[in-house]
Symmetry: C2
Subunit: 256 residues, 2 copies
């Protein structure tokens, strides 16, 4: 296609970077704080924040800026375009009701998993991972299901650029060991992770496929290790997880 305009690319890239810099830790930022968080100059950060305010995507008390609900419009087109998303939630709720633990659905974005749906367990009062939140792929059950489905060249590229950090005593940090585990995940059709990202959190994940058989998302059940043993996770939860992932896959096929 035709030449690209470097100024447009540059200002759009900076605007999207600035939008991403707001977080639970930084819900409101001054111009200086926004500049520090993004690496933009103060002049650019100010111009962009004022632009966001003018367009209704941010509001300010005169000093700090915070995002408004309007920013949800930016991601909604993606969620609305997922053919499986709405149906999946009913199945996930049924699964969560049955095992009395939370269930999530995620896709891969670069080296991270992104939550696209989540049903919390009733009792859950601790930190929850919500739609749009992200985690590294390698130490999570959903990440392993998604990595195991990558073409070999893409997986190699991921492993080349990813540092396998020891997040807990259990984390697999050896590349060959991770490759072996991913091969096992691909063969058995699910991943089971016992406290590799966070001590005391166990989860199992299974692939959701499109009509062509390609893996488009991972479905998981996550539980506190104090409540659910690895044996219970494998013997009781994994069969229900696999049934649920298959039901979502069948719904997707029915949509085409």
């Amino acid at each position: 296609m035709s030449r690209e305009d470097p100024d447009v690319i540059d200002s759009v890239e900076k605007a999207l970077r600035l939008l991403q810099s707001f977080s639970g830790e930084a819900p409101a930022m001054s111009v200086s704080e926004a500049a520090a968080a993004t690496g933009l100059t103060r002049a650019t950060a100010r111009r962009l924040l004022l632009t966001f305010e003018r367009l209704g995507f941010a509001e300010t008390d005169g000093r700090r800026f915070r995002l408004t609900a309007r920013v949800l419009r930016l991601g909604y087109g993606y969620l609305a375009a997922l053919p499986f998303w709405e149906h999946a939630q009913s199945h996930m709720r049924a699964l969560s009701d049955e095992v009395r633990e939370s269930s999530s659905l995620a896709t891969l974005d670069g080296g991270e998993i992104v939550y696209v749906a989540r049903v919390p367990a009733s009792r859950m009062m601790t930190i929850t991972f919500n739609v749009g939140s992200r985690l590294p792929a390698y130490p999570t059950s959903m990440g392993r299901v998604l990595l195991a489905a990558l073409p070999a060249a893409d997986l190699e590229s991921y492993l080349d650029r990813t540092e396998l950090k020891r997040l807990t005593a259990n984390t697999i940090t050896d590349r060959a060991a991770l490759e072996a585990e991913l091969a096992r995940v691909a063969e058995q059709g699910y991943a089971l992770v016992d406290g590799e990202r966070e001590e005391g959190v166990r989860s199992a994940a299974a692939p959701v496929r499109n009509a062509g058989g390609g893996v488009i998302a991972a479905l998981n059940v996550s539980a506190n290790a104090a409540r659910v043993s690895v044996e219970k996770l494998r013997a009781e939860f994994v069969p229900r997880l696999l049934e649920t992932a298959d039901a979502i896959t069948k719904d997707i096929a029915g949509l085409h």
Copy 2:
């Protein structure tokens, strides 16, 4: 503050407009389709789509572009910054379990309500409204709770610019009648809507407040009219709804 750069504002505004044009009806668009959907020129639409692709926010098969999960990063800062959001979901799940219907939480953006959390009822297999989706405020229970809490001048401005469309036989379309209903909502502390936005859907909503008493969100329970009478909604669901909204409000106060 200092002068604004019209080119930056212009390209950022166009980029955000284009991101918002993707939807469930238009999950993937060619350059021409994107130009038609946004009113941008084909050259501008192409430049922006290629920019999104380069930044990982879109992908293309060579003809059509679709958004990637990365766009969820743009709205996540807003959701993560809501102090009540994570706690609210546990209360909503308990409410939904008890009344066996779905529960949602929404805020106001312009003349629309925006869903920021939702717990679907187990049986729900029909259309669901999910995080980021939007509805007009005037014919919905959550919208009425939020409108009833607006300063008088803001409410007047809303009513001046909003056409009250007859969406069903029940919709209040008379301005004075709507103002009277909003006054009633403010006085009784909840809104009850019987099929004004969609035939056969009944809902009740109550305000969630910040530590200063300001209304920051509306919580609802929504049910199929075939299952739940207006009497049942008012006598059984509304008391539980009010308790749940109060519990979320108390949690928020505890966070400060």
